[in-house]
Symmetry: C2
Subunit: 208 residues, 2 copies
């Protein structure tokens, strides 16, 4: 297997932390997003969506999309289980991961890519170019704050996203919170979120 | 178990078709989205995201998010497998479902909810109100057309989304194509997409 990564990007970091928790080591290829390598012909053949991460399997087939990659790795390396230990828990982790992707990661990306100067004309990932929409940057920021409020309320009662079980949903939420810091959307005044963030950041996997 | 549904909405239809393929029968509660029942206090206690579908389990816990619900149902009713038969196939179905959600269903929803008169002030699902953004309606329409082009190219070589295996990814794509018809984004001139659409629409589950 081969893992196509970019050290500075939030999405592949989710998989890197997941692999670190499981002690999985796979040869890594760095893709230079800053120089647009993901838009070049060679990478496009690997992933027409021009995104990292990509997991290339031994038969040369490829998996893209973070959750799909982690699902595959979980089946190959079941311990420790990060996607749930029972049918109901697995579905609950999937549900929370989906909520965090839509209301956290996507909202933060909306705020960031519709505003940051370096992303002018590149408001979305992918092969096509889309102009920034200032109203969308603003909406993304509002939605990110709502997401932080929600996480604050959740961690007032839960040790982790799914009760007292550390799961992939925590990894997604950690990457979302660290991504939001780029936009100065922060944890200020949210003490439960801070407590959780300190705990998950202290795990050795967080530096992956 | 109990299934919270809305007969006219695309998202719960994905689960209804999934259940029909597996011959699963669960008591159904209709939620009247047109009258805003999903925003009322009672429903909000069930799902703070104010969306259908919701699957309520026998212990009264709830699952929201289409893919999470289907994952749970697949574990309880494994046959016929609609989420893949091997680890690699399962990850591939998840990957395609994710691509169809992001580039199909979300793009079509962007086009629809930012334009339709009845969704003024309700450009997003959820408890908060967000204004329509006309540029986003336009972008959604462009992205939907790109998605249709991509499906046309895929079905030029594939019987179904994942090779010759009918899966949940086909169900998501079918619901996306039928949803897009509301916006008159159609299959015109896309013969492979038409061939696939006719085949999946002819399955008894499609009327669910």
């Amino acid at each position: 297997m081969k893992f196509y990564d970019c050290e500075t990007a939030p999405s592949p970091r989710r998989v890197r932390i997941f692999m670190a928790e499981k002690d999985i080591a796979i040869p890594v290829v760095q893709v230079n997003l800053r120089e647009g390598e993901q838009l070049g012909e060679e990478f496009r053949r690997l992933n027409p969506d021009c995104t990292v991460p990509v997991l290339q399997l031994d038969d040369d087939s490829t998996l893209t999309e973070v959750f799909a990659i982690c699902q595959y790795l979980e089946e190959c390396h079941p311990e420790p289980a990060l996607l749930g230990r029972t049918a109901a828990e697995r579905a609950t982790v999937t549900m929370w991961n989906s909520k965090i992707e839509q209301h956290g990661l996507a909202a933060i990306a909306e705020a960031f890519r519709n505003k940051a100067r370096g992303f002018s004309g590149r408001a979305l990932t992918g092969a096509s170019n889309f102009a920034q929409i200032p109203e969308l940057a603003e909406r993304g920021r509002m939605r990110s704050e709502l997401f932080f409020d929600r996480m604050e309320a959740l961690f007032a009662t839960n040790e982790f996203v799914v009760g007292d079980y550390f799961s992939f949903a925590d990894i997604s939420a950690l990457v979302a919170v660290d991504f939001a810091a780029w936009m100065k959307i922060g944890m200020h005044g949210r003490e439960h979120l801070q407590r959780w963030h300190a705990a998950v950041s202290a795990r050795p996997s967080a530096s992956a």
